[in-house]
Amino acid sequence: MNPAALLATVTGRREPALALLIVLLLVLIGLRAPFFITLDSFEGVLTDTSILMMLAVAEMLVILTRGIDLSLAANVALTGMAMALLSQAYPDLPVIAYVVGAMLFGAGLGAFNGFFVAVVGLPPIVVTLGTLSMFRGLVFVLSGGAWVNKHEMSVTYQTFPMNRFLGLPHLLWIAIIVIPLMWVFMRHTKAGRSLYAIGGNPQAARYVGVPVAARLFMAYALAGLIAGLSGYLWTARFAIAYTEIAIGLELVVIAACVIGGVSIAGGVGTIPGAVLGALFLGIIANALPVMGWSPFWKQAISGAIILVAVVVNSRSERRKGKIIVRRAEEHPR
């Protein structure tokens, strides 16, 4: 294969192109601040971005089905608060109780969304807009408006995410386990594949026998499960739980998906793409202070990148499909 063809293959597909871009970004940062390109620094960035990467994967499940979940960040806050209060009330619980508890609690919140979307048949954006307010408010109700501080959480609760196993923090290990697991699920199981089918064409999916309602429900519950797990990890890592935790993160997560090539029209997107999208935002957030730039630049740069990603996405999506199909797809909502 000649170099030009190789380049075309690499840049023609989203994930290698994005990976290449990330490497380029790292080189640029490295020229200015060489210590950013060390294993220690990489570990820090990856650990810092673990939660965003997992949430991007969760959001992708839902976006694939032509839906959207605006309540994920509120789920993080609510589940995080619930687990923090649990730790305050029963300090002797083992870590596994919090991890499993958070996954169940989060999945319950996701299932609530799933019920209204899949069973009642309401538009996902409206349902999750509603639950975004509800969950966020319930954090306040649950805690009575109080913060759960470091000294009120049990030691096992707060030290787990940053304790090391084989040299890496548990938080990073969890991402390393969850992400490939989800990749296998989405690529090699019937249930995972069916989410692509539903997003590609819901009617056709129903005709070929996909239980659409059940799978939709599953997508929201699973997204909630991952968000719940992230909620425990968040409150434990930062050793604090309060109402405004992860506020505004719902849109950052969606942005990560968009950068990662997940189509908001449904049916298109991969786990590596979503993860790389999150990583891209994470690297920028971590690199700004290293580069000596004001952190206030972070948001403006992210915004510009999102817009560029949207334009690039539309270019790559436009190529496939006949004209008539394309026209229909241009108005997905």
């Binding site: 209204f116 807009l129 509603g130 307010s133 408006g145 915004g303």
Partner: protein, 341 residues
Amino acid sequence: MSTNASEGRAAVRDRAAESPWSLLRRWEAILLVFLGIVFVINSNATPYFLNIYNLADSTFNFSEKAIIALPMALVIIARDIDISVASIIALSSMLMGLAAEAGLGVPGLVVVGLATGATAGAFNGFLIAGLGLPAIVVTIGTFTLFRGIAFVALGDGAVTQYPAGLAYFGQGYIGGLIPFEFVLFLVLAVIFGVVLHMTVIGRRIYAIGNNPVAARFTGIRVDRYRFVLFCLTGLMSGLAAVLLTSRIGSTRPNIALGWELEIITMVVLGGVSILGGIGTILGVVIAVLLVGMVTFGFGLLNVPGIIMTVFIGSLLIVTISIPVVIQAVRVRAAARASSRR
């Protein structure tokens, strides 16, 4: 079967007269009932609620959001969405602040606020209608970008030096009783209502929302309409920025944070279908008042605002479920009746 003598095979019959029952099932009626309940509960709970001065002043809390809800309703009816409105407020207010520091007078500041809003809206409109990108993703991008620019310009600082004359827009009263902001909202609501419900422009917006492709085939310049709607939403966000800046007299980059979802909630609560093609300005106005009165009542009762969000969130899901559930029950009942036969 009743047929008029004049009715040919191709004739389209008039819609049957609506029974009082179906009127009750209309969205606005449901909302009005809710509004009535809120009034009764609030006035029983606290003697300060039914006070004309308090009621008038309570409108300060929602007038700016309400003003954006109007163009947002049109955008959603036309099957788009704009997530960036609150960030446009931040951008407009930031530029107003810089202009004020440079010594610009009141009329100049108003122009800066409105022009910034309209320009930001045109930028959205260009990306969405011009380049054909999905509205939700574009406006999530500009949501981040616009506020990001405000952060770059202001950092953790604030602008608080505004000329005294600016205060009227957000703090002034008309007739000594009704806030200027609220009157402005009512006037705009009438204009938006007339345009949407009584002009060909409005009919075309519905047509676009119901089926953009068919609308294009009937000769409607769909993309031009969508572009203008985003400009309009930007302009109204600029107006809201002028009012808000005038009311609180300071600008920080986190101004109006999180408003976009509150505004969309109001619009959807008002009966505008997120799928496009359905909705009325009257519904949006009632929903705005409903949310405003609930907030006001809870505030008088010293209920924290955050608890209100639980209530609004539940209200949103419940109200939108009602018609769907009623429909499902009727379909099931009809199926049972036909299977018995």
